[in-house]
């Protein structure tokens, strides 16, 4: 299990970071698109129709792209004060239980995401000549990455229960947030 974990951790670290960095590029692209829209409206007197839909989609992608990284690095908002009172053993059990639940909902949504994508094939985008399914393609990708992270978290939780003397926390956490 240890070797599988090391391998999976490498894959996850790289994919989470790549997805997060892509989100950074999308953010700047969003600014450019919205500024372009303003310039066209006020300076060229010509309202573009596509910027709104495109920038919105980029924003949704940003959220989905950041999600695996946020889950892996524990960057999501949560209340820890009650749990901090528990013994380390109880905390490990609780953590495993919570991560199993997360994995469950991620699997549910991963399975649903294919149907979601297919339904998108029947709808054309408002301003661009293709189906919204292409906008939706981030959903299965993000839930697949989340699934891998979920498996990694559970492996870590199991190992820390089996061998409590070793440190199974993620070592390569990168904390970008202020």
């Amino acid at each position: 299990m240890r070797r599988a974990l090391i391998y999976l951790a490498k894959v996850n670290a790289a994919s989470c970071k790549a997805a997060r960095n892509l989100a950074g590029l999308l953010l700047i692209a969003m600014v450019v698109v919205v500024i372009l829209q303003i310039i066209f409206r006020y300076l060229l007197n010509d309202s573009l129709i596509w910027p709104e839909e495109v920038s919105k989609t980029m924003m949704v992608w940003t959220a989905f792209l950041v999600a695996p990284w946020a889950y892996r690095n524990g960057a999501n908002v949560r209340i820890e004060m009650f749990v901090d009172e528990f013994s380390p053993f109880l905390r490990s059990i609780l953590k495993l239980f919570l991560n199993l639940l997360v994995l469950w909902i991620v699997v549910v949504f991963f399975k649903e995401s294919f149907g979601f994508w297919e339904r998108g094939l029947t709808v054309r985008a408002d301003s661009l000549p293709f189906q919204v399914a292409w906008f939706y393609s981030i959903v299965p990708i993000a839930f697949f990455l989340l699934l891998l992270v979920g498996v990694e978290q559970i492996m870590r939780d199991l190992l820390s229960l089996l061998r409590p003397n070793e440190n199974w926390e993620i070592a390569d956490q990168d904390d970008l947030l202020i």
């Binding site: 989100a23 950074g24 600014v31 950041v66 999600a67 979601f116 939706y136 970008l176």
Partner: protein, 428 residues
Amino acid sequence: MSLSYFWIFVFLLAAGMPVVFALLIGPGLSLTIDGEQVFHKALLSRLYNGMDSFPLMALPFFVLAGQIMNSGGITRSIVDFSQSMIGHVRGGLAQVNICSSLLFAGLSGSAVADASALGKIFIPAMHQNGYSRSFAAAITAASSVIGPIIPPSGIMILYAFIMNVSVAGLFAAGLVPGLMIAAGLMLMTNYLARKRGYPVANRRATWPERGAAFKTSLPALLTPVILLGGIFGGVFTPTEAAAVAAAYALIITVFVLRTLKLRDLFPVFVSSAAQSGIILLLVGASVTFAWIITVSGLAGTVADGMLGISQNILVLLLLLNIFLLLIGMFLDAGPAVLVLGPVLGPMFIDLGVHPLHFAIVMCVNVTVGLATPPMGLVLFVSANVSGEKLEKIAWQMLPFLAVEILIIFLITYFPEISLALPRLLGFA
């Protein structure tokens, strides 16, 4: 459907589950228990469509603008300007801290960003000047609350989105309450400074010195003028104004002040995207949760419960404030607004409370909650920056919290404080 989703949500939250997952697992598990898994696909499409909104995009843009200005040292110029204006009074640095928070609030929409940016400057400086670290941290935390109340404001964008009210209207409604909090904190600081003999930071700056400081900080001070002028004047939507603010911050820091190099920018983008992405997914999950709240009729149940206690709107508003302050002690402002807005809003609006007035009461409450122990994000940030114990800071916070709670009550019982400006500008 049953209300089991809500109890699952509360249990998971208390157990330390990230809020975003608790918001999705509650309804998901509840539907499974009720044998209604067919609705799982509706949860997923609401998660996606919940984020697919143009007004919501103001949020990542304001986060980006704030981060660029912080990294580009614009915060510093605001501090220098405040210092030149009021650094000479008793308790000068504490007053400068509040004044900087007020000016910074016009650029940034986040209390945590304010506490972190200004804390790094003020806490060491105040300590050197003879203040205790815990007092310096407390005034930083207390004044950073102004950030999301004076527009632009992340929390108001979230509220406007989930409750379908105008962002511009909410921004206008927040201006006077924000100024009142600043004034209240300054009065309290003045009283404490005289009582405790806090030092004067500087000699009085001459007008030429003030002029020089004003000139340096002008790019920063112009930001709120462009933003609010653009939004209230109907030139931009709030989202466009936020994009303009980000582009403006970029141009100022990279090309005019040259405090940021092009290669420094990528980490700023990534960090802003990461912060925004986390909040956006929370928004999507909250929309999903809000849908379940509507379907299950939870808002009605809560309304019945509250109306059972009293029918008097004044009493109900008092209960609302107590409840929100308690919630604010444990829950971050964003999730609090996203989850509780749809539960509590309909009842008060039905009872005749103006939607913008209710919005301000709620936003100010949860924002002040950020600075209340035991669970307050800005308190954590200022504890972290100062290296001081949370309890000591919390103790020093008490007079300032008293001021903020007093102002919450003024806002609650005098609706005109928040409604006059939006009415004048035609938003209410």
